[in-house]
Subunit: 352 residues, 2 copies
């Protein structure tokens, strides 16, 4: 397993074992057309010599690399880390290697990443997050070789039902939002504000789901305010807090946990109490959601599983030639302090 130096080749093993290269190949690849004692001997010698097959040579002749490409917009997001972890883990389990690229939220970088995947002949590609232009991806990669994780199915033209044979792994945000809204209504909240995130699919999907959930609950969706949360930074935070103080919503549904934490920080700086004055909720259930003060109510996403499913879908498509359509993984409401009224609510019978 020495990485540089002259690597020992299959040739070397063959000579050492006094057999032909083809025999070595067969012995090492579980080909049954070979004598069992020869196989054992060859395997032994190969191990002895520290032989490691050259993947490049292998890929060249096999016309398959057992390599998966993973395009991540931002490794810094905890939730992305979880997806990456699941993706990598499952890929390894299936004997695949993953090469990764960072999109940095720039279409140009993204394009270059796709080219890298192509050069390396990746057998499949996963694209994480609401990438800027999914159509661009589809233009250069065969649909049966991509799966979008947490992206919107581009076939929809923006948010209807999904039915195209296009790989897409999403959490069931609709269900999550319903549970969230039901919980908030149950604890007596009425004036909601959706603090939206950056312009990615997830953010708009969640926003729309809130409107729907509110309507279905018989609440007046006009009670829902929208705030462009992506603009909240240390500089603009006070302005945001002021706006909350002025409009007095009693529940802030944030695009994701990170944003929720930023929001809570801004509110605290302004002296607005959570959950007393206003409830705050997030999305994802990153590890820090359980550690904030107050602890954050959120909708847990099985992020690692989503990464795993992405791999499974890709491998399925590689095998069968067709990509199974979108899949929705279940989410779970996690009620914590940030949405529970300090005085036990009348019927707060919700188990965490």
């Amino acid at each position: 397993v020495n990485i540089n130096a002259r690597r020992v080749t299959l040739q070397d093993v063959a000579e050492d074992a006094r057999v032909s290269p083809s025999t070595v190949s067969r012995a090492l690849n579980g080909n049954r057309r070979i004598g069992s004692e020869t196989r054992a001997r060859v395997q032994y010698i190969a191990a002895q010599l520290g032989y490691v097959p050259n993947q490049a040579a292998r890929s060249l002749v096999l016309r398959a690399t057992r390599t998966l490409g993973l395009l991540v917009p931002d490794f810094t997001e905890p939730i992305h880390g979880q997806v990456v972890s699941g993706f990598q883990g499952e890929a390894a389990l299936q004997g695949y290697t993953v090469i990764m690229a960072n999109g940095f939220d720039e279409p140009e970088r993204e394009a270059r990443a796709l080219e890298v995947f192509a050069r390396h002949q990746a057998d499949g590609i996963a694209v994480l997050g609401g990438v800027l232009d999914q159509r661009q991806v589809l233009a250069s990669v065969h649909p049966s070789r991509v799966v979008f994780v947490d992206g919107e199915n581009p076939a929809l033209g923006g948010g209807g039902t999904e039915d195209l044979p296009l790989g897409c792994v999403r959490a069931d945000d609709g269900a999550g939002v319903e549970a969230l809204v039901a919980h908030l209504l149950e604890v007596g909240r009425r004036r909601f504000v959706y603090v939206a995130g950056p312009p990615v699919a997830s953010s708009s999907i969640r926003g729309k789901a809130i409107v729907r959930a509110l309507t279905q609950s018989g609440a007046d969706p006009r009670d829902l305010g929208i705030y462009a949360g992506e603009r909240i930074d240390p500089a603009s935070a006070p302005a945001f807090a002021d706006e909350v103080a002025a409009s007095r919503p009693d529940a802030l549904l944030c695009y994701d946990d990170k944003l929720a934490l930023v929001v809570m920080d801004a509110l605290r700086a302004r002296g607005i109490r959570v959950p007393d004055d206003v409830a705050v909720t997030g999305f994802d259930d990153i590890p820090f959601a359980a550690l904030s003060n107050p602890r954050l109510t959120t909708v847990a996403q099985p992020a690692a599983d989503m990464g795993r499913y992405a791999v499974l879908m890709l491998l399925g498509a590689i095998e069968t030639g067709v990509m199974r359509a979108s899949i929705h993984v279940p989410v779970q409401l996690v009620v914590r302090e940030s949405s529970t009224t300090p005085q036990p609510a009348r019927e707060a019978v919700r188990r965490d």
Copy 2:
């Protein structure tokens, strides 16, 4: 850039352009031994045909893959995400692809990861975090092809000065700890406890640095308590808090930010106030350190830069054949609420 289908080869381009394959190769690789009009024509045709070079074939003949392996113990750690991001970004900038593997803190997985890197003929390897057995890595990979990020230089036999020609990127924890201790002493803290992390290099290095800093400050290092923080989980948290309540330290220096947040959560559950009753500090300055309540005092590590340096060291070694020895990147003390006494301390003239 189509990913499956029969890819267009250099051969195809050659035929289309009515030149030999070598000419195409030269035209596309910036070889100067070629007529400029021929080059232009070939490049045009290649682009027209959507030609993408086959990296496997290229690597095979060039005996270099322009690929770097990155072994990460846990993608879920925010700090790892930052390192990965910097690593990937710099690698891409330099025309390298990175293949990644997840160690999951298991030596066996780690070994398999190294083998994957070898199969793919990675030109260099970076190992992140205090891996269980760095010696194992060195046994199978040439020293000039690895760099350990955040690991301990294994040549030291555990923590002296470092001088071996062995790639190692570390933050200057010593300086960070000194600043941290100085700050805590300045705000009147005296009874310190180091809440240690998992058994990785960083944790022990920081622990030792604290003892040293305490001694140098003329404080009695015997005032330093040690607590095995890695054992703190939701179940054991109360016990930990009880212990703090009993022994009454006035400063808890935690291995890293995440642990510090866990600690603060445990203390809050027990009614111990931070920083009033006890100061809490972290290490890393992950994004959430600035969002906690109270906001966390910590030592910022330029994690992304560390990833970048790792790439640079690797490329340097690939070019020159020798790995430059360890490098220490500077850190910065970030003072926030969790260590500042509510009443302004007498001489708290520390700028954040």
